[in-house]
């Protein structure tokens, strides 16, 4: 574990921020963190992030929710306690489709919400990067680019010089665990 703190560069516009990410990647850095006050279009492409696995999870849980709702209704109404309600057939499947649909949506929505939190490692109230100078503006109007000191290309002096060359508002240090 290297004793060096990671370096954090602060930018004022999304354009400069994306440009800086591109140049950092071109310079060979790979362990880059990026923080923005909104979902900047093109950020994933600039960082070359893999596609989120969330949609697959939502699909699986949606199918699970719908299938279990349908099977439950069919079992309860036709097998467990068949009841002649208004002369309808025991297995009156068209009546079961509404609740099946609602549970499909519910399963997928719960998977989407909790899956999003899980993939993001939330809830996690404290994170070392919150200690960085001015980082409270990452949720307001500033964009932050972090180069982790674990990066093989990282060097306390040349990396700082490189970040300075991107014309940031400021470059600050972050406790290394920030990751």
């Amino acid at each position: 574990m290297s004793p060096n703190p990671s370096l954090l560069a602060e930018f004022g516009t999304a354009g400069q921020f994306l440009d800086a990410i591109g140049r950092t990647r071109a310079a060979g850095y790979r362990r880059i963190g990026a923080y923005a006050p909104f979902a900047v279009p093109g950020l994933d492409e600039a960082l070359d992030l893999p596609a989120s696995r969330l949609p697959q999870w939502m699909l699986i849980f949606g199918i699970f929710g719908g299938a279990s709702a349908f099977l439950l209704q069919a079992y309860l109404a036709a097998v467990d306690f068949p009841l002649n309600a208004g002369g309808r057939p025991y297995f009156s499947w068209p009546s079961f489709t509404l609740v099946t649909f609602e549970f499909t949506v519910l399963g997928a929505a719960l998977a989407g919400f909790f899956g999003m939190l899980a993939l993001n490692g939330l809830p996690r109230p404290y994170h070392p990067i919150f200690d960085a100078t001015n980082f409270d503006r990452a949720s307001q109007d500033r964009f932050f680019l972090m180069i982790d000191s674990d990066d093989p290309e990282f060097d306390p002096y040349s990396t700082r010089r490189f970040l300075d060359s991107l014309n940031p508002i400021a470059v600050t240090e972050v406790n290394r665990e920030a990751g």
Binding site: P37, F38, L47, M116, L119, H127
Partner: protein, 456 residues
């Protein structure tokens, strides 16, 4: 060709956000409405609506004590104000999801500033609507029998009844709406956590923000989750209000047994909900000086949707009468004639006036951009949609098949108290919402500012 379209739409797009706003001013203006000290007007409104909530609690308490007979329902008109208000409130709720989800999928930039309070409206209205089916039960303490749980009695809910579907539809709708709303809130709660100066506010908003850091990985999963939740919410809204329509359409009652009801109820819900959003938008814009974020362009767009929905409602009313005349069912035709000329005729004509005639004013661009005129139209639409449910529920039930059973419905003071109390409850929730939650989604407005041309 594409340049042509761009030139035509760009000035239009720009009007959804006043041009003097940058990221910092957006964050400041919206979070200050939550973080600054409580104003006297807020306390006044909060306490007055709180008194109304007490009326609601008293009306419900006396109902639980004395029984459902304190209402004006009788053996013929078994559904009165409770079901009218239930359908009305759930209809109000639907527009919030349509604004945040459908317009999100359609990439409408004017949705951004209004979606947070439209969603809040949905959650409050759907929660209030969800109370009425429980209140109107003769034995409300047994409402949990609607849920399929392995009891020692070995019995299960009857899954062939739309009233059971209703329970699942509303419960799912409230849960999904809350998740969707909260997902949209997390980045804004992080902003409040970072801007708050009092320790208590930092802790509370920090806890609800769940440690959101705004990292690229966060945003990537967040955007996916939000997009798919929006895509799920649209069919969910359609299903919820269709189920409400099935409460009537699956019955044998002449005037109810119509295949038109599901889509007609969904459009009616959108219609009344958009009217309510217009009222709320105008009120919040004036009270919190949101003029930079809510522009005449927003009102214009909502008025156009109101007009489109009004035309579909007019078509549905016309088609109901036409099918009754065109078909061979004598009861259906008698119902239609009595609806227009009988004791509930004024409600029917009032409904047509408010829902079909008045919204035609929105053809005029001057009306669409005039706040007082639009406010009047929106309030009349809400009254008209209440009358519509009144006509469907009370008028149809009062004259079924057997003339010996024809009977009128007279609401009692407890019907009125429950209804007015539910309005107060809605307002009370809304006062809490504007005090503690940012009423405009800051991160989405920042993105809008970015899309419209960045300033720093």
């Amino acid at each position: 060709m594409s340049r042509d379209i761009e030139q035509r739409t760009d000035p239009e797009r720009a009007t959804v956000l006043r041009s003097d706003q940058d990221y910092a001013s957006i964050s400041r203006a919206i979070s200050d409405s939550v973080l600054r000290p409580t104003s006297r007007g807020w306390w006044l409104g909060f306490c007055l609506s709180g008194l109304g909530v007490l009326i609601f609690i008293a009306a419900a308490g006396y109902l639980f004590y004395a029984g459902v007979g304190i209402w004006g329902v009788n053996t013929t008109v078994v559904w009165g104000f409770a079901i009218i208000n239930y359908v009305w409130w759930i209809g109000i709720g639907n527009a919030g999801t349509l604004i945040s989800a459908m317009l999100y999928l359609a990439r409408q930039p004017w949705r951004t500033s209004i979606n947070r309070f439209a969603e809040a409206m949905t959650i409050f209205a759907a929660s209030i609507a969800g109370l009425f089916p429980i209140l109107h039960l003769g034995r409300p303490y047994l409402f949990y029998w609607l849920a399929p749980y392995p009891s020692t009695m070995g019995v299960w809910p009857q899954f062939r009844s739309p009233l059971v579907w209703d329970m699942f539809a509303i419960a799912t709708y409230i849960i999904v709406s809350v998740l969707f709303w909260y997902t949209g809130l997390i980045p804004d709660l992080a902003t409040l956590r970072d801007r708050a100066r009092s320790r208590a506010a930092q802790l509370v908003y920090g806890a609800f923000a769940l440690g959101w850091r705004g990292s690229a990985a966060h945003w990537r999963h967040y955007e996916r989750a939000y997009l798919i939740l929006a895509a799920l919410a649209v069919p969910l809204v359609v299903s919820v209000h269709s189920v409400v329509g099935y409460d009537f359409a699956t019955a044998l009652m002449p005037g109810w047994r119509s295949t038109l009801f599901a889509p007609y109820f969904v459009v009616g819900a959108m219609f009344s909900g958009f009217a309510m959003v217009i009222v709320i938008t105008i009120a919040l814009r004036a009270a919190f000086r949101l003029h930079a974020f809510v522009t005449p362009r927003h009102l214009d767009a909502m008025a156009k949707i109101l007009l489109a929905a009004s035309l579909i409602m007019g078509y549905a009313y016309g088609m109901e009468a036409f099918m009754a005349w065109y078909g061979t069912d004598a009861d259906e035709w008698r119902q239609t004639v009595t609806t227009a000329t009988g004791p509930y005729g004024p409600a029917y004509w009032g409904m047509l006036f408010c829902n079909v005639a008045v919204p035609q004013l929105c053809w005029s661009a001057r009306i669409r951009r005039s706040i007082p005129a639009l406010l009047v139209v929106a309030i009349l639409v809400n009254i008209g949609m209440w009358l519509e449910r009144y006509v469907i529920v009370v008028n149809i039930l009062s004259q079924g098949f057997m003339p010996s059973q024809f009977r009128l419905y007279f609401p009692t003071v407890w019907d009125w108290a429950t209804m007015l109390g539910s309005f107060a409850l809605f307002l009370w929730f809304f006062f809490l919402f504007v005090r503690f939650v940012p009423m405009v989604p800051m991160h989405e407005v920042r993105k809008l500012a970015h899309d419209l041309g960045e300033r720093s």
